[in-house]
């Protein structure tokens, strides 16, 4: 039996202590926005926040998590998809298949929490999740855009960082 605080709600879950947090979130708690991709902390599809820090939940045993740890999944990032990262992702049509994007969004949100104006190098270092569709260019632009959210909440693209440079002859 373990006690987990996920998206502000306390859950009592009856699982083996070495069960990965990912599978507890998906199978016992029933929140399926957090994805399985590799099980070995390589791809980041399973990224969630614990106390505002992004972690790869596939490789964390539930026994190592305290009831007071504040776990936030993609479902708990915002009530109405209004987090600046989610809004930037929508504005730039970042997702393709979308499967990795919960993890990408959680990684980006955690980055911006500790670094409000990340440089390209900061983004390179922090955004290590795998996207097989290859949305990396738009992810970079969307992180900059989310960072450029003004006090009024408006999103502004970062200068010189086109999401997608397209011309038609």
């Amino acid at each position: 039996m373990a006690k987990l605080t996920i998206n502000g709600t306390v859950h009592d879950v009856d699982v083996e202590p070495d069960t990965p947090l990912l599978w507890v979130i998906r199978e016992q708690v029933g929140l399926t926005g957090t994805k399985y991709g590799c099980g070995v902390a390589q791809c980041g599809a399973c990224s969630v926040h614990i106390d505002d820090v992004v972690v790869r939940s596939c490789s964390m045993r539930v026994a190592d998590i305290k009831p007071t740890d504040r776990i936030v999944t993609i479902e708990g990032l915002s009530a109405t998809s209004s987090h600046p990262v989610q809004r930037a992702w929508a504005a730039l049509d970042v997702p393709q298949c979308g499967y990795c994007q919960s993890g990408q969004i959680m990684a980006a949100a955690a980055l911006l929490k500790r670094n409000a104006r990340p440089s390209d190098a900061d983004i390179d270092a922090a955004m290590t999740n795998i996207c097989r569709c290859g949305t990396y260019q738009r992810i970079r632009a969307a992180v900059h855009m989310a960072a450029n959210t003004t006090r009024s909440g408006a999103l502004e693209p970062a200068l010189g960082v086109p999401a997608s440079e397209t011309s038609t002859l």
């Binding site: 083996e16 069960t19 990965p20 599978w23 199978e27 016992q28 929140l31 399926t32 926005g33 957090t34 994805k35 399985y36 991709g37 590799c38 099980g39 070995v40 390589q42 791809c43 999944t73 993609i74 479902e75 915002s78 998809s81 989610q86 992702w89 929508a90 049509d93 970042v94 997702p95 393709q96 298949c97 979308g98 499967y99 990795c100 994007q101 919960s102 969004i105 983004i123 390179d124 270092a125 955004m127 290590t128 999740n129 795998i130 996207c131 097989r132 569709c133 290859g134 949305t135 990396y136 260019q137 738009r138 992810i139 970079r140 997608s164 440079e165 397209t166 011309s167 038609t168 002859l169």
Partner: protein, 728 residues
Amino acid sequence: MNRTHELSRRTFMVGSAAAGGLALGFHLPLQSAAAQSAAAAAADAEVNAWVVVRPDDTCVIRIARSEMGQGTLTGLAQLVAEELECDWKKVTTESITAGQNLARKRVWGEMATGGSRGIRISQDYVRRGGAAARILLLQAAANEWNVPASELKVADGIITHPASGRQTSYGKVAAAAAQLTAPDPKTITLKDPKDWKIAGKPVKRLDTADKLNGSKVYAIDVKLPGMLCAAIKDCPVFGGKLVSYDEPKIKDRPGVRGVVKVNDTTVAVVADTWWRAKTALDALPIVWDEGSNAAQSSATIAEHLKEGLSAGVTNGERRHGDALAAIAGAAKKVEATYGTPFLAHACMETMNCTVRTSPDRAEVWVPTQNAEASLAALSEASGVPIGQCEVFKHDLGGGFGRRGGTQDYVRQAAVIAKEFPGTPIKLIWSREEDVAHDFYRPISQCRLSAGLDADGRLVGLHVRLSGQSINATLNPTAIVDGKDRRQLQGWWEEPGDAQLGYTIDNLLIEYAMRNTHVPVGPWRGVNTNQNSVYMECFIEEVARAAGKDSLEFRRALMSRHPKHLAVLNAVAEKGDWGKPLPPGVHRGIAQFMGYGSYSAATAEVSVSPAGKLKVHRMVLALDCGHAVNPDQIAAQIEGSVAYGLSATLYGENNIKNGRIAEVNFDTYEIMRLAEMPKVETVIVPSHDFWGGVGEPTISVVAPAVLNAIYAATGKPVRTLPLKNVKLV
């Protein structure tokens, strides 16, 4: 503009099917979310197979093809909406099911989604479907007002009769329109694409919202009452056999409900959760008979392929003039041998599906590129007649060719589910299983020889390809008299699909089929990816041997291929060919054709003194004829760079003791964001054909980068991936 919530619809569909609703076939429209109450269902009007209009003027556009990230759903909806003349802001979509398509005599045509064909193959009939619905809606209004339909105008789903000032909307006349006889699609004149208002525009995707908050339900997320989960293990050596397993060792583990011998090579554990099934399977003692293939390795396979580079008999060829004599008599000869490895698809969502069977009904919830193949596989494996089977398709967490015709996971799940009648069984492959039991991009080697005359002109080219055949694994009947032209994709003579863009007087292209025990299949861009590396990197070697500029050497061979040439010229211009670069940065160029479209790329790279590569910028040009959504074309091109570059830098599946050596992302490495170059897209639409988008540009990524590396180091790279190559 949000999509019909699929699960609620599916729940309804299951219910209606159980009540015999499917048997009504033609008269029963596919039910949408609004159909959860009978009253709402009655008010939704199926104007025709492609268009349902709700009383609130929402237009539900039916989509037969599979959405796996490539944007076909949005593009197809744009094409229907364009002809329908509806309000794009009121468009939503829903997937049809394979069972419905079967019951309605394939009114939606084929559902298979691969080969970059989603839009180019269905564009004509989906546009006619939208136009026919518009004609019916206008006729219904004309009947109501007792005026000729020719006097009506429509825009954004609002119908007006200018002469009398009357106005109505699609939602108000849809029920009457649904009762009218549809016009013959052949009599419909479609819009000239230059008049398009919705198609051809960079509208936002229709399927983004639920990918941002975790609410999208992929097949791996399906939850059904009473559902159990299965983990599976196939013999690690292809062709090996399952001998025995020790079920008592794991049967008392928490949640375990049973062990199933799925077939001669495969065993599965069923438990209340997947994690319990997976860990129990890991703990299950299994005895395999690995068989003679256990002696196979990358080295034995390489030898097998090498033999094909000089063997006498070939399995397909293209011949003009006498290439061998021309090369023998040439002033200068160039020769090189190239090779590329097996590659797994590694879709982010591993193979999975959920099956529920009973003696008279079988259902599968599945991410599939071919719902009709899923239906057939389900019927065959479950023993339930196909008319009593149904496929609930979920948008795929990646496809890339892995989830097409084979449907191995559906067969497995159906066999397991038969042991648990009435209980839904969700089968999920671990990542290790997913990479170890793929249908890989075929391995090949290629030896090329060229002859140059004293002026540095190409007088003869001989290409000998030796490698595995996709058709031999998946479609043997396509190999006629031992000839398999599919492996020569991109080097074909005929125009229109994958034509070689060069005219070479003395040309000999030969294919020696060398199959292995490793199963192969289509992999986003398949043979154009390897064949472009061989051709475009070798042409680079030949151009350099001739002392010619890479672009000018190619142009001289392309005068009879104006579309190839136009794309090459476009990329040269936008990619600043010939213009100065920062110190240490070098440029490469490549062009190729596949999937009905013309591609070209430039790459700008630097190689550090320690041999570390950085790809700074790539410019890609594509002529896909009509460009239905320029922003989604750009997205596909950006993605193709990541997919192609990942293969170039890291991709390889080696064979060790008969099995795949790299089975997870720690060893089967995938490119990350930090290595993504700046990508610029140049769309070169010639508006006179319909070409593919999802695949063609991958083919030019690797050769453009390799040719830039050649420029940087002065040495050609002839084998992939680059992680194994010392660049300096």
